[in-house]
């Protein structure tokens, strides 16, 4: 799979190239700002764009705006945003395009190479990868009342589920059995009046729709 990287720190760019190549990606080009990223995507039509949020010239949200633009113009290119801090507002803007094929992770997650590569692959294949910190911000955004009906364990499960993990992934992350996870998920859907669905990313969409509908 081909990827382009947009990151203004040259130092980190080198590391990102190595990590993506280790994960089996072919890095077509690396750029340092949003404009150049759009041009690179137009030229190379990669399966994945790995994008830093803060880039020249404004050093605020250039990456988010470029990501939204990419998802709008080239739906075949998945986007993973990287940032020093994750912001629920950026996540909401990114997810408003289409929850499939987008990811939003803290930069420090790249250091856990294997997990990061798995998340990026999931996104490139049309899935979702949200940083746990984004998920907790999104959860906070809604009124607590329906969530108060969830047990702490069920909220943990919901959080990990929103990151885009499968039942097996959730079980591994929370070190519980898979059957227990399935039970928790059924409880969550029941308490939140959500229809159950089996495909991973449809579950995420359901969670996100729920978060978006009742948020703010």
């Amino acid at each position: 799979m081909r990827a382009v990287i947009a990151e203004d720190s040259v130092l980190l760019r080198v590391g990102l190239v190595k990590v993506l190549e280790m994960g089996g990606f072919e890095v077509a080009t690396e750029v340092g700002d949003g404009e150049a990223l759009l041009a690179a995507v137009a030229e190379h039509r990669p399966e994945l764009a790995l994008v830093d949020v803060r880039m020249p010239p404004g050093f605020t949200d250039e990456g988010v705006r470029a990501a939204v633009e990419i998802r709008r113009r080239w739906p075949g290119t998945a986007v993973v945003l990287l940032s020093q801090y994750v912001e629920e507002r950026y996540a909401a803007e990114l997810l408003s395009t289409n929850a499939g094929g987008v990811g939003y992770l803290l930069k420090q997650r790249v250091a856990d190479v294997a997990e990061f590569v798995a998340a990026v692959r999931r996104v490139a294949e049309g899935g979702t990868a949200l940083d746990p910190q984004v998920v907790s911000q999104l959860l906070l955004r809604r009124d607590l009342d329906p969530l108060e009906r969830l047990t702490p364990r069920e909220r943990d499960v919901l959080g990990v589920m929103a990151e885009g993990r499968s039942n097996a992934g959730i079980a591994q992350a929370l070190t519980v059995g898979e059957s227990a996870v399935a039970k928790h998920i059924n409880n969550i859907f029941a308490k939140l009046d959500l229809p159950t669905a089996d495909a991973d990313h449809r579950r995420v969409l359901a969670v996100l729709r729920f978060l978006a509908a009742s948020g703010t």
Partner: protein
């Protein structure tokens, strides 16, 4: 001439004061022509309208010129700065500036100084200045009187026995001169201060405006500085640390046949690098979050609330964004308050509301903890009150023992 050290200061001061007084005589007589015109016109008839017009012209030109002369005289000869009035706003039409000048109470006080007080001061200056030649002549008369022809001497002094008396009087006059001249100079500069400068109320108003402006500038400078530090750390150290962690992660992933010791050291370094990133992130985030700038308070606070280790209910109800300085302080208030809740309150939940109430941004943080927080007891609350006060805002802390604690900050959004 060599002056004995003990006399140096009084002599130098007397020289400065008499110089100052001497320089005042002519400018203080500057508007006397107006008097003489007035007198001649009223006594001899003459051309009344012409005389009035000439007087008005002399006054119009004379007051600003003489005021400038007095200002220079005080500054150069006495080292006293007469406060200048605040610069008037630019007017396109010069007539408007003249009309404004004529309406100002300051103009009439200056006119009073030059027209009425000036001649009086000139006379007193001449009297003080005459003390020097008179004193000198008197003090030395016992010496030079003997050189006079007998008839003249008898005509001037009647009896030579009176000569020591004149000498004594002259010496006393010379000794008194420094104090008399000093008192006259002080009195003059006080009068000039009162009549030529702005009134005390005006001075206070100007001072308040000045302080207000400099405080605003200072707040903006501090804010800009925080932003700069945040940017520098983000572009420099934070990227370097992430790169370090990534390289360590790559090393662990790509070197499967390391000795157990090396693997352990690598894992420890990897973990510590990640912890360093977290710690630096927390610190830098507290300085000035970038999202505050481009998405506003609401977006910035959700990140803050999510990082708090207890459940926080957040309600932000703002139709429009507040000024950057207000947003920055509001963010700081919530940040500090939530830190306090986490550290001290032993609370299970907290609630943050931000609302615009009229012209005020009201930030409210409540927790269900133990209470008993004291703004003076070295918690972050003291610094919080100062930061809020810098925007003319108020901070209220209600924290009865047993809880709950409520922190309310009100920040004016319009000035």
């Amino acid at each position: 001439m060599k002056i004995p050290p003990g006399l140096r200061r009084p002599v130098l001061r007397a020289r400065r004061d008499t110089g100052f007084l001497a320089a005042g005589v002519l400018p203080h007589l500057g508007l006397v022509p107006v008097w003489s015109w007035g007198a001649t016109t009223s006594v001899q008839g003459g051309n009344r309208p012409l005389g009035l017009a000439a007087s008005a012209a002399v006054i119009l030109l004379g007051v600003p010129v003489l005021t400038a002369v007095q200002r220079a005289r005080h500054r150069v000869l006495l080292g006293v700065f007469l406060p200048r009035p605040a610069p008037a706003p630019e007017r396109r039409w010069p007539g408007a500036a003249v009309a404004r000048w004529l309406r100002a109470p300051r103009t009439w006080r200056q006119l009073g100084y030059h027209l009425l007080l000036g001649p009086v001061l000139a006379v007193s200056e001449l009297l003080v200045l005459m003390a020097l030649p008179v004193g000198l002549a008197g003090a030395t008369c016992s010496a030079w009187a003997w050189g006079l022809p007998v008839e003249v001497r008898q005509e001037w002094f009647d009896y030579t026995t009176q000569l020591p008396g004149y000498t004594l009087g002259g010496l006393l006059l010379l000794c008194a001169l420094p104090w008399v001249a000093g008192a006259a100079a002080r009195g003059e500069s006080r009068a000039a201060m009162a009549l030529l400068g702005p009134s005390p109320a005006q001075q206070l108003r100007e001072r308040v405006d000045e302080l207000d402006q400099s405080r605003t500038d200072l707040i903006e400078a501090v804010d800009a500085e925080r932003r700069r530090i945040e940017r520098d750390l983000h572009d420099g150290t934070q990227q370097r640390l992430v790169s370090l962690a990534v390289n360590l992660g790559l090393a662990m992933a790509t070197q499967p046949d390391l000795s157990p010791g090396a693997r352990e050291a690598l894992a420890a370094a990897h973990l510590e690098a990640k912890q360093a990133i977290e710690e630096l992130n927390d610190l830098v985030r507290g300085l000035h979050p970038a999202v505050l700038e481009d998405r506003g308070l609401d977006a910035a606070l959700s990140g803050l609330a999510a990082r708090t280790p207890l459940p926080v209910r957040l309600r932000v109800d703002l139709a429009e964004r507040a000024a950057p300085a207000v947003e920055s302080v509001a963010y700081f208030v919530v940040s500090e308050a939530l830190t306090n809740v986490t550290k001290h309150a032993r609370a299970t939940r907290a609630e943050v509301t931000v609302r615009r109430v009229g012209k005020v941004l009201r930030v409210n943080i409540t927790d269900d903890g133990l209470g008993g927080a004291d703004a003076r007891a070295g918690t972050g609350l003291g610094g919080l009150a100062k930061r809020v006060g810098s925007l003319d805002g108020t901070l209220q802390v209600s924290s009865p023992v047993g809880g709950p604690t409520t922190v309310t900050a009100e920040l004016p959004c319009e000035r």
